[in-house]
């Protein structure tokens, strides 16, 4: 897996990953970033995640509550709403379909020599 992810790809799928991660366990912003990094999104920054949390909350897909912390200020913990869980189910299905289609297309790409060929298979 490459170290860096395509920002555009990540932007499209990040809300889904956030919903899935929060459905697994309630988290506050920085903890969620750490968890997603541990899950493979090594280059994810809080600056990418916070706007997504804001949008998901604005769209009522997640809700939040303040929890006092013994080691610092109160933290805002996020959890998917019922609407968010429904969206997670729908988007997961859509994602699975998309991945399946992408696998089919990418499966046709010859491995090894990726030089361009014309429609008859001759080198361009």
């Amino acid at each position: 897996m490459p170290a860096d992810h395509d920002p555009q790809m990540l932007k499209g799928v990040l809300p889904l990953l956030v919903l899935a991660s929060l459905a697994h366990a309630e988290s506050y912003g920085y903890e969620l970033v750490v968890r997603l990094r541990e899950d493979g999104l090594t280059d994810l920054s809080t600056g990418t995640l916070y706007p997504v949390l804001t949008r998901l909350e604005r769209d009522r897909l997640i809700s939040s509550r303040l929890v006092a912390s013994p080691s610092g200020p109160a933290r805002k913990y996020y959890l998917p709403t019922d609407e968010g869980r429904t969206a997670l189910t729908d988007r997961s299905a859509a994602w699975t379909q998309l991945v399946s289609a992408a696998r089919t297309v990418l499966g046709r790409v010859p491995t090894g020599d990726l030089r361009l060929t014309d429609h008859e298979g001759d080198p361009r």
Partner: protein, 175 residues
């Protein structure tokens, strides 16, 4: 590390770092509706403080990335472009106030130069309908100006036009 009984509060230096970051973030967020921006700013601030308790303020701010990039990420979440009031105010001040003031200064200095070349004296002129008295003699030089409604209207008109263009007021229209 603080004891559980006393939650850690960022030190003065860390608070200054955070506040400078938020100031730059605010400048880059001028397109954002103000009420939403205030809520976002409070959230970012609280999130930074929470992250700083885990990894320190420097790391928490580094993780956020450049303030401008963070602002762009929030602006991306908007359904449409918004007016840029700060840009409008700056351009309005330059074109509507600074430019007429510069032109008047050039006019007045030109009049005084002409008086000097003619051997000094005093002359009554008119600039954008405003009476101007330019004097240059052994005692020094002076320019007296009485504001006129014409001059004020030109200045206000230029300000309004530049403000509208700079702020991109057409973005107020719903798409």
């Amino acid at each position: 590390m603080s004891s559980p009984a006393t939650p850690a509060r960022p030190g003065a230096r860390d608070r200054w770092r955070r506040d400078v970051y938020l100031l730059r973030f605010g400048a880059a967020m001028q397109d954002h509706p103000y009420r939403q921006y205030r809520r976002i700013r409070a959230e970012v601030r609280a999130s930074v403080d929470a992250a700083a308790a885990d990894v320190g303020m420097r790391r928490a701010l580094e993780d956020l990335g450049a303030p401008r990039r963070l602002a762009l990420a929030y602006l991306d979440e908007l359904d449409r472009d918004r007016p840029r009031w700060t840009d409008g105010a700056v351009l309005g001040a330059i074109i509507g106030i600074g430019f007429p003031a510069y032109m008047f200064l050039a006019y007045a200095l030109g009049a005084i130069d002409t008086l000097d070349a003619a051997g000094g004296g005093s002359v009554r002129l008119s600039w954008l309908g405003a009476p101007v008295t330019a004097t240059s003699d052994a005692g020094g030089m002076s320019v007296d100006l009485v504001l006129s409604w014409q001059g004020t209207a030109v200045s206000a008109g230029l300000f309004a036009l530049a403000f509208a263009l700079g702020a991109r007021v057409w973005r107020l229209r719903r798409h």
